[in-house]
C-alpha cells in the first residue's frame, strides 16, 4: 500500500490534479482511495468517481487545528481496514503543511505503508502575488516534499512557469520537479506511472 500526500495553497489546482491522477491510477487497475476535505476546492461528485473505481472519503475541517488531523487518521485507519486500497491519496487542506500532515500521521495505527511520497503543488499563475503575501506558508508547503509539481501550464505564461521552477528549485533543491497541465493526458499518464510505487520505503 502506497501513500501519496499533496499540499499546496487554496486554488493551486490540487483537487483537479489529484482527481485526474486518481482516475489514471484506477484505469491502470490500482485500487485507489482519495481523502479530501469535505469543503474541497472543487466539487467532488462521489458517485461518478465510484463508477470510475475510485473510493472518495471526506474529512471535515470545520476548525483546522482541532479536528482535521484526528479525522484524517481515523479515516485512514477505517479505509485501510475496510477497503485495503493499493494507493491512498491525501489532499491536505489548502493551509496545511507537509510537516503538519506528518505530525497527524504519527498517530496512525494501521498497517505500515510500503512507501510514502509527499508532493507540493505550485500554481504559477498566482505565485508572484502569493509568495509576497504568504511567504512562510508557501515555503513550508514546498520545503521538505519529495516532489514539486508546477501546475496549470496551459494557463500560465512561459515566464510564470520559469519563475515557479526557479522558486521551487530555490526552496527545495532536492525535490524532483515537473511541470504539467492536468488537462494533458500524456503528462498525467507519465505522472501516474512515475508515482505508482515510487515513494520512499517507510
Amino acid at each position: 500500500m502506497d501513500l501519496l500526500s499533496f499540499s499546496g495553497f487554496l486554488g493551486s489546482g490540487k483537487t483537479t490534479l489529484i482527481l485526474a491522477l486518481a482516475k489514471e491510477l484506477a484505469a491502470r487497475g490500482h485500487r485507489t482511495a482519495f481523502i479530501v476535505n469535505e469543503v474541497g476546492e472543487v466539487g467532488v461528485d462521489q458517485r461518478i468517481l465510484r463508477d470510475d473505481g475510485l473510493e472518495v472519503y471526506e474529512i471535515t475541517s470545520g476548525c483546522i487545528c482541532c479536528q482535521m488531523g484526528v479525522d484524517l487518521v481515523k479515516t485512514m485507519e477505517a479505509l485501510v481496514r475496510e477497503e485495503r486500497p493499493q494507493n491512498i491519496i491525501i489532499e491536505a487542506s489548502g493551509v496545511a503543511t507537509p510537516d503538519g500532515i506528518a505530525d497527524s500521521l504519527s498517530y496512525y495505527g494501521g498497517p505500515p505503508f510500503a512507501s510514502t511520497r509527499s508532493i507540493g503543488v505550485l500554481d504559477p499563475t498566482r505565485l508572484e502575488a502569493l509568495i509576497e503575501v504568504m511567504t512562510p506558508l508557501i515555503e513550508s508547503q514546498i520545503a521538505g516534499v519529495d516532489e514539486i509539481i508546477v501546475t496549470k501550464t496551459d494557463l500560465a505564461t512561459g515566464a510564470e512557469v520559469a519563475q515557479a521552477r526557479s522558486v521551487a528549485e530555490r526552496l527545495n533543491p532536492k525535490a524532483a520537479l515537473r511541470t504539467l497541465s492536468a488537462t494533458d493526458p500524456v503528462a498525467l499518464a507519465d505522472l501516474a506511472r512515475s508515482l505508482a510505487g515510487s515513494g520512499r520505503t517507510s
Binding site: S61, I64, C65, Y107, V133, P136
Partner: protein, 368 residues
C-alpha cells in the same frame, strides 16, 4: 448561591487572577473549553446543541461538572452562528445541511466582494455589517441575539456549580472578518492587489469593533474575553504584511479590553512562534496567551514567561487519539516547565468532539 459556593468561586477566581498577574498560585488553574464534545458525551444531538443555546449551556455544564474540579470555563455557551459573526461566512449546519451528529463546517467561499471595501468606507462598518448579515447571511443576527440573551442565565448556572466564567465572549481584528468573508484565497490576493483599500477598510472597521467590545465587556461585566487569531497567524503571512495588517489591530483591541478591566485572552491558533517577541509590547501581567499546540509553548515561556501568562496547550489530537497516561505526562511537563507560575492549563484550541472522556478527565485531574 450559598456561602460555600461563593467562597469556592472567590478562591478559584483568585487562583486564575494570580496566574494572569504572573504570580504562583496554590496550584495551577485548569480552565478548559469544549462544545460538541459535551454533546456527544451527554447523548445530545449535535444539531440541537449547536442551534439551541439553552440546550448548549445545560449540556456543557452537565458534562464538565462531572469531569472533575475545574477552576473555570472559557466559554459558557455555544451557538454555531457565532462563527458567521466573526468570519462572515456561510455555514454547513448539522441537521440542516449535514447529518445531525456531524461536525459543523465553515463554508469558505467568496461571500464578500472587492466592492464591499468601498461600501464599508462609504456606509461605515456597522451599517455595512448589518446589511451584510441581512442580505447574505439571513438569520445570523437573530440567532446571535437569541444566543446573547441566554448568557446571563448561563453565567449564573456555571457559577452555581462553583465554576468561574472566564472568557465567554470573543472579539477579533478586521483581518479575520475580511479573510473569512472574502475567502482566504481571495483575501491574500487582495493584500497584494489593493493593499491600501484593504487597510482603509480595516481602519474604518476597527473603531466599531473596539466600541462593540467595550459595550459587551460593560454589559456582561466580563472577567475576560477571547481576542482570537486564526488566519492571522505568523505561519501564514509575510512579516511585512503581518506588521501592517495584523499586529497593530490586536494591540488596539487589547488596550481597550484592559482599559475596561477585562483580561484579554489571546486565543491564537496555528503557529505564532516567529512573532512571540512582538507580544512583549502588550502590557505586562494583564493578558493571557492561549496556544493550541502548534506554537512552541516552551519557546513562548522562554520569551514571554516574565511578561504574559501562558495558557494551553494539550493538543486536540492527543485528547482524541492518545491515552490518559500520555495526557497526564504532557500536562505534568507543562505544569513543571511552563508553570507553575503564570500558567493556566487547558487544551489547545478546543476539546475536539471525539476526544476520549478519560483523556479529558486526565487533563483536568493533572493539576491536583
Amino acid at each position: 448561591m450559598d456561602a460555600a459556593t461563593q467562597r469556592l468561586l472567590e478562591e478559584k477566581e483568585r487562583r486564575i487572577r494570580d496566574a494572569v498577574a504572573l504570580k504562583t498560585p496554590d496550584r495551577v488553574p485548569i480552565v478548559p473549553l469544549g462544545d460538541a464534545f459535551t454533546a456527544r458525551q451527554a447523548g445530545v444531538k449535535v444539531s440541537d446543541f449547536c442551534t439551541d443555546p439553552q440546550i448548549a449551556y445545560r449540556t456543557m455544564i452537565e458534562v464538565f461538572s462531572g469531569l472533575g474540579e475545574l477552576d473555570g470555563i472559557q466559554h459558557a455557551n455555544y451557538n454555531v452562528h457565532l462563527l458567521s459573526t466573526i468570519w462572515l461566512s456561510r455555514l454547513k449546519i448539522p441537521g440542516r445541511d449535514l447529518g445531525e451528529n456531524d461536525a459543523w463546517q465553515v463554508e469558505e467561499i467568496e461571500l464578500m466582494t472587492p466592492e464591499d471595501y468601498d461600501a464599508i468606507l462609504d456606509e461605515g462598518f456597522g451599517p455595512w455589517l448589518e446589511r451584510y448579515f441581512a442580505e447574505r447571511l439571513p438569520g445570523t443576527a437573530e440567532a446571535f441575539a437569541a444566543f446573547v440573551a441566554t448568557l446571563p442565565d448561563a453565567f449564573a448556572a456555571w457559577r452555581e456549580k462553583g465554576i468561574v466564567v472566564f472568557s465567554p465572549v470573543l472579539a477579533t481584528v478586521p483581518y479575520e472578518y475580511f479573510c473569512g468573508g472574502r475567502s482566504m484565497q481571495q483575501f491574500m490576493l487582495d493584500m497584494h492587489r489593493r493593499p491600501d483599500k484593504v487597510q482603509a477598510a480595516m481602519d474604518a472597521a476597527l473603531p466599531f469593533l473596539k466600541e462593540q467590545m467595550r459595550q459587551v465587556i460593560r454589559g456582561l461585566s466580563l472577567m475576560g474575553l477571547w481576542i482570537g487569531g486564526w488566519r492571522t497567524a505568523s505561519e501564514f503571512l509575510s512579516p511585512r504584511l503581518w506588521e501592517r495588517f495584523v499586529f497593530p489591530y490586536y494591540k488596539e483591541l487589547v488596550d481597550v479590553a484592559i482599559e475596561e478591566g477585562a483580561i484579554p485572552v489571546l486565543h491564537f491558533d496555528a503557529d505564532w512562534t516567529r512573532d512571540l517577541e512582538r507580544l512583549l509590547e502588550l502590557p505586562k501581567g494583564k493578558c493571557v496567551l492561549s496556544l493550541d499546540g502548534k506554537t512552541d509553548i516552551f519557546k513562548a515561556k522562554e520569551i514571554l514567561g516574565d511578561h504574559m501568562c501562558i495558557m494551553g496547550d494539550v493538543p486536540p489530537r492527543m485528547l482524541s487519539l492518545g491515552t490518559p497516561a500520555e495526557v497526564t505526562a504532557y500536562c505534568k511537563r507543562l505544569i513543571n516547565e511552563v508553570g507553575p507560575g503564570g500558567f493556566i492549563l487547558a487544551q489547545g484550541c478546543c476539546i475536539p468532539p471525539d476526544a476520549k472522556y478519560e483523556n479529558v478527565k486526565a487533563m483536568i485531574d493533572s493539576v491536583q
